[in-house]
Symmetry: C2
Subunit: 473 residues, 2 copies
C-alpha cells in the first residue's frame, strides 16, 4: 500500500451539498441493500475450520469494495484469518477516525430453527434475515457505504478515515490483539468508531460508552477410562456428568451471585448518576421477558435488569456435552463430561486473574474420583469510555438528524474485546454507535437487521464525518 497523497483540507460540506448526498442515498436504497445481501451470502464462520475458504471470500469482498471506491487497501495476513486495512487520503490539520468492524460471523447452528437459510439473506416484514445481518456485516457496511458514497459523489472527505475490518472477532480477536502494537502507526487515529451494538430500543438510538469484558473456558471432567455399564458399575464410581453438574452448580447461588472467591473484588460499582439516568429509560421487565419468551426474569437482587445486563458480571453455561445424546436409552456412566462456560466481566476485572480464581475454586469443589482440565479460550476486560468529547457531540447531532431522535447514553452487556486494546495502544477516543435492535437475534437463529436501520445508519454515518469536522476542526 503506497502512502496516500495528503489532501488540502477540504472542510465540511455545506448543507445543500450534504442534503443532496443524503437524497442520493435515499434514491439508491435497493443498490445499498443488494451490496449487503451479496456479502451476507458468504458463510464466513471464523470458528469453523471447514469454512476457511469462505471466510477468505468475505475478506476479499470488502477489500474489493474499498478498492473500487478508490481507497488504498491492504490485506494483512495473520496466523488465522486476514484483516483488511483501508484508508482515504490524509487531510492536513483534520482529525483521523478509525472505523473498526468484522467480516466474520458466529456459527449458524441450530440450522433447523432458521425460517430462511442463514446464508440466504431474505427480507421479511422490513427485516433482513441472515447470519451476520447485524453482527457485524450490516452495521459496519453502513460506514463503508457512507465513505464510498462521499467519494463517488465527487466530494473530498473533510477528515481522514481508516478502516480496520478483521475476521476473528467472533473467536476472540487474538491475532489482532497481539499484532496491534506493530500496527499502531498504521492505525493511528483520534477516535475509533464501531457499530457492533444496539439502539436502546425501537426508535430510541443510543451511544454506548461501556461494554462488558469476557472470559471463556471449556471445563472437561474425566472419570473412568471409558463409558461404563451403569448397572455393573453404578454405585462404585463417580459419574463424571454428575461431577460436572456439581462443579458448575457451585459456581453460582440460587440468586445468581457468583461464588468463586474473589470474583467481585475488582468490580467497579455503578455510580448514582448512571443509576438515575438509566432509571429514566423506557424499560419494562414484562416486555423484556416477553421478548425473549420467559415468564420471569432472573438475576442478582438489588439491581435493575439494565444494571444487571450492562454493569454486573455474570456466569453462563454455553454448552454441555456428555455421554449418550442420540435417540433412545443408553444406560452408561459416561467417561467424560464437558461444558463450555463464559463470564461477562466489568471494569476492572481481569480475565487472567479470573482464570486463577477459577482453578482454585474447581480445586476446592472437585468430587472424589474424577479429574478436570480447564482450557482457556479467550478473555478481555470490560470497557468504560468518556462521553464528554467532541466526537460524542458530533455523533449525537448526526444520529439525531438521521433517526429523528436524540440518542441516549447507555452501556451494553456484550463484549468487543479489542476496544479496550484500542484505547490502550492507540490512545484514542471511542464511539460505539449501535444501529441494531436488542431483538436482532445476534448469535441466535434468525439473526436480522431492520432494513430501515441499515439506511438510517448509512445516513447517520454520512453526516458523522461532516459533524466531526465541524466539532473538532
Amino acid at each position: 500500500m503506497s502512502p496516500p497523497r495528503e489532501n488540502a483540507a477540504p472542510g465540511p460540506l455545506d448543507d445543500t451539498s450534504l442534503n443532496q448526498l443524503i437524497e442520493s442515498l435515499d434514491a439508491d436504497r435497493n443498490g445499498l441493500l443488494d451490496d449487503l445481501i451479496d456479502w451476507l451470502r458468504i458463510p464466513s464462520v471464523s470458528s469453523d475450520s471447514r469454512l476457511r475458504a469462505e471466510v477468505r471470500r468475505a475478506c476479499d469482498w470488502v477489500g474489493e469494495k474499498f478498492a473500487a471506491a478508490g481507497l488504498s487497501v491492504e490485506t494483512i495476513p495473520t496466523q488465522g484469518h486476514p484483516m483488511v486495512v483501508a484508508q482515504t487520503a490524509p487531510v492536513a490539520g483534520a482529525p483521523v477516525v478509525l472505523v473498526y468492524g468484522h467480516y466474520d460471523v458466529q456459527p449458524a447452528e441450530p440450522l433447523e430453527d432458521w425460517v430462511s437459510g442463514p446464508f440466504e439473506p431474505t427480507v421479511r416484514g422490513g427485516d433482513l434475515f441472515a447470519r451476520g445481518a447485524t453482527d457485524d456485516k450490516g452495521q459496519v457496511l453502513t460506514h463503508i457505504q457512507s465513505v464510498c458514497r462521499w467519494l463517488s459523489a465527487g466530494h473530498d472527505l473533510p477528515l481522514q478515515i481508516k478502516f480496520l475490518i478483521e475476521g476473528e472477532e467472533e473467536v476472540g480477536s487474538e491475532n489482532l490483539e497481539r499484532m496491534l502494537p506493530e500496527l499502531a502507526e498504521k492505525l493511528a487515529c483520534d477516535c475509533v468508531v464501531i457499530s457492533d451494538s444496539s439502539q436502546y430500543a425501537d426508535g430510541q438510538p443510543a451511544i454506548t460508552y461501556g461494554l462488558r469484558g469476557i472470559a471463556t473456558y471449556e471445563l472437561t471432567v474425566r472419570g473412568p477410562s471409558q463409558d461404563l455399564h451403569s448397572g455393573s458399575f453404578g454405585g462404585a464410581v463417580m459419574n463424571p456428568a454428575i461431577a460436572l453438574c456439581k462443579m458448575l452448580s457451585s459456581m453460582v447461588d440460587e440468586n445468581g451471585v457468583i461464588q468463586v472467591p474473589g470474583y467481585y473484588d475488582r468490580v467497579q460499582p455503578l455510580t448514582e448518576a448512571e443509576r438515575q439516568q438509566w432509571a429514566q429509560l423506557p424499560q419494562s421487565d414484562a416486555a423484556f421477558a416477553a421478548s425473549v419468551g420467559v415468564k420471569e426474569l432472573f438475576g442478582e437482587q438489588g439491581y435493575t435488569t439494565d444494571e444487571r445486563r450492562w454493569a454486573r458480571p455474570t456466569f453462563d453455561i454455553n454448552g454441555l456435552t456428555s455421554g449418550h445424546q442420540g435417540e433412545g436409552v443408553k444406560t452408561i456412566i459416561p467417561a467424560i463430561a464437558s461444558a463450555k462456560i463464559s463470564f461477562r466481566l466489568v471494569a476492572d476485572q481481569d480475565p487472567k486473574e479470573l482464570t486463577e480464581q477459577l482453578r482454585q475454586h474447581f480445586d476446592a469443589v472437585t468430587p472424589t474420583g474424577v479429574t478436570w482440565e480447564l482450557e482457556t479460550d479467550h478473555g478481555a476486560p470490560g470497557m468504560l469510555a468518556k462521553i464528554d468529547t467532541p466526537f460524542a457531540k458530533a455523533a449525537e447531532i448526526a444520529i439525531d438528524a438521521a433517526f429523528g431522535t436524540k440518542p441516549v447514553f447507555i452501556r451494553e452487556g456484550g463484549s468487543i474485546p479489542i476496544v479496550t486494546r484500542f484505547q490502550e495502544v492507540l490512545g484514542c477516543d471511542c464511539l460505539l454507535l449501535g444501529w441494531g435492535l436488542s431483538d436482532d437475534n445476534t448469535h441466535s437463529p434468525n439473526e436480522k437487521f431492520r432494513v430501515q436501520d441499515y439506511h438510517r445508519g448509512i445516513q447517520a454515518s454520512t453526516r458523522l464525518w461532516n459533524e466531526i469536522a465541524k466539532q473538532v476542526g
Copy 2:
C-alpha cells in the same frame, strides 16, 4: 407353529454319551465360533430406527438357526421388533425350561474408541471383540448351540426346552412385558434360564440370584424461546443449562446418597448372611479401580463396593446435551438443556412411585425462570430369586464340570427388566448363569467375550440339560 409331538421320556444321557457329546463340541470350536461371528456382524441396534432392517436380519438369523436344528419356530410380531419363540419336543413327566435372551444390542457410539469395528468381530488375545459379543448374542448362543448339538448328535433331550429370543431388551422390553400374559401358555415352564450376566471374576463362575431394577428418564429444561446472546442477555434471564445442573446436583449429596424424598423408603436392607458371604469373595477395591481407570472408587459410606453395586440403588446421568457442542466458542444462553438420567433400583422399589417422587422433587428445586418436562422411558423393579432349588443345584454341578470350579452365589448390579415379570406371570424359578466377565465392556466401546468362556458356556449348558433331568426327574 404346530404343536410338537410329545416324546417318550428319554431320560438323561449316560456318562459315556455325554462325554462324547462334549468331545464333539471341543472338536468343532471353530465352527461354533464362526456361528457367533456371523450373528455379530449384524448391527441390530434396537434403539436406532435407521437400523430396523438390520435388527430384523438378526432376528431371522436366530430363527433360521433353530429351524435348521429341527426346533419348531415362530416369529412373533410386536409393535416394535419381533421376538422368536422356538421349542423342542415336549417330554412327558420331565420339566420344561425356558431360555430367554435377546438379539438386539446397545448403540456402538463412540465409534472412534473401538480398536476394531463394533460390527466386524475380531479375535485378539483370546477375546472376541464386537458389540453384542457378551450382551447378549454370545451368551444366549451358548444355549442355542448346546441344544442344536444335542439334537444333531442324534440324542433326544431329557426335558423340553423353549427359547424366547427378543429384540427389545436394550430398549426396555416393553412390548414383551405387555404381551407376556397372552404368551403365558406358550411359554409355560418350570424354570427360566438366562445368560446375560457375568462370572464373579476371572476363573470364578457365579450363579446370580439378584438383579437391580431400572428407571430411565429424560429431563428437559426450557428457558428463553431461543438461544440468546450471553452478552446482551446474561444477568437478565436464568440459563437453562445452569438450571439443569442445579436440578441434577440436587439429586445426590457429596457422599452419593440420593436426596429425592422417599427414595429409600422401600429398599430391602442386605441380610447379615449375604454380607458375610460376600465379604469372603476375593474382592480388591484397588484392582477394581484400576480395571476401570479411576484413582478412587466412590459411593455410599458404610457399604463395600460389591454391596453398593449389587444391593444399593443409584442415580446416574447417562447423557447431557445443551447449547454449543462444536468447535470453538459460541457465547450463548442456550434455550434448552436436557439430560438422560437413570436409576438402578433394588427390591422393593417401584419405578412408578419413583416417577412421582421425582416430579415432586423437581417441582421443589426448579430455579426461577425455567420450565421442565420429564419423559419416562422405561422402568422395572429389581429381582431376588431363591437359591435352594433343584435347578440351582443342577447348574452348580454343570458349571463346576465345565469351568473346573464351583460357582459362587452373587447378585448383579445390572437390570434384566423382564425377569421379575417372568417370575410374576409364569410363576417359574429363575437361573441367571453369567458366562461373561466384569471387564467385558458391555454397553461400552470394545465390548468382548472371552472365546474360552463361550466354549465353556456351551459345555456347561450341554451338561445342564442332563443335570436338570437328574435333579428334578
